[in-house]
């Protein structure tokens, strides 16, 4: 009986882990999602990329908005070096009307995004990656194994941009990868907005 219970617990913890999405070292699966320009974008569309800065974000979250310009700056600095930014909107447009495709297009135009801003209907990739808030960054590196997750977490440790000596987590991780090294810090935490999940038809 004890063994059985233990096995159950083990099975449970395995399931729980599977739902948590990618860990550093996992190989991320490619996606094919609609960009604000109407064309579909996948990781494979970037033929010259050495890796990717995948940012799960949205239109409406104050933390995401605070990082908007910093995400743009990341793409300006790193797209040419082989690490383009790909932003994915995590939120359901019915639950969060400010996150509709039209609103995404509006924001991308207004802020002249130089990077792809994709919708993720039904949260397929938000769930697969395990993004649990916005913004939530996954830095991927193209390796022999595939697109390997090299860093998961925050962009930096200063959301409000008040500390000039802030630690630039994503920048440091990508710089390390460009130098052929492993990032010193591979995962960080930050306060973010919860994902606005699609409401189930038969919800409680």
């Amino acid at each position: 009986m004890k063994t059985f219970l233990f096995a159950c617990l083990l099975a449970l913890s395995v399931t729980a882990k599977a739902q948590n999405g990618y860990q550093v070292g996992d190989v991320a699966s490619d996606f094919n999602l609609k960009n604000v320009d109407g064309k579909n974008v996948s990781l494979a569309s970037y033929t010259n990329a050495k890796g990717y800065i995948v940012v799960f974000t949205c239109n409406t979250c104050p933390v995401s908005k605070a990082y908007q310009d910093r995400v743009e700056a990341l793409n300006k600095s790193y797209a040419a070096k082989g690490y383009p930014v790909i932003a994915i909107n995590t939120n359901d447009p019915v639950t969060s009307p400010g996150d509709s495709y039209a609103k995404m297009q509006e924001r991308a135009k207004e802020k002249s995004f130089s990077y792809a801003y994709l919708e993720d209907p039904n949260h397929v990739y938000t769930k697969k990656f395990g993004a649990n808030k916005t913004p939530h960054v996954f830095v991927l590196q193209k390796t022999a194994k595939g697109n390997e997750v090299a860093y998961i977490g925050a962009i930096d440790n200063d959301q409000e941009e008040v500390n000039a000596s802030r630690t630039m987590y994503v920048q440091s991780a990508v710089n390390a990868l460009l130098e052929g090294k492993k990032p010193a810090i591979t995962s960080t935490k930050a306060i973010g907005c919860s994902i606005k999940w699609k409401k189930e038809a038969a919800s409680k």
Partner: protein, 157 residues
């Protein structure tokens, strides 16, 4: 007499609102350690966080019920500290929040989140239950109903 009560209530409300202050984690810890109460329910929220705002009435309910008990609800807002006067205080006034409210004042969120609880991903709402007498700490990254709050508080005894 009725006017006097209203006036007093208004005044009490004003005093409470005026007390929304910035708070570091070590200040929070000493608030809990030196407080007169034994059980603390510390909710991490933000004015911009929908599910947090939705569950705040449940925490208010606990505050209301615990007037004569050694139990204290502390609401720690994760709003940017620059929003103290423009967002948090107006929110507290508008919703007539009676629980103790603070705005976090920590330059490095990463360190702060880790210190509150290593299991915390940083998503909010999140709530920390502390019993200072029995030295129990329980942390949850989830939303709470009044029933769930009451039940969890019971388990700390």
């Amino acid at each position: 007499m009725k006017y006097l009560v209203t006036l007093l209530l208004l005044l009490a409300g004003f005093v409470a609102n005026a007390q929304v202050k910035l708070l570091t984690l070590s200040q929070l810890e000493s608030r809990v350690a030196k407080g007169k109460d034994t059980t603390y329910v510390i909710n991490f929220w933000a004015t911009w966080c929908g599910p947090c705002v939705e569950e705040l009435p449940n925490f208010e309910e606990i505050t209301k019920k615990s007037a004569n008990k050694p139990l204290k609800v502390i609401l720690v807002s994760m709003d940017f500290k620059s929003k103290l006067n423009s967002a948090v205080i107006p929110f507290v006034q508008k919703n007539k929040i009676k629980s103790e409210v603070y705005v976090i004042n920590e330059p490095d969120q990463q360190a702060f989140i880790e210190k509150v609880d290593s299991k915390w991903s940083g998503a909010i709402p999140a709530t920390l239950f502390v019993n200072t007498k029995l030295k129990i700490r329980q942390f949850y990254e989830k939303e709470f109903t009044v029933q769930e709050l009451t039940k969890t508080i019971e388990t700390l005894k």
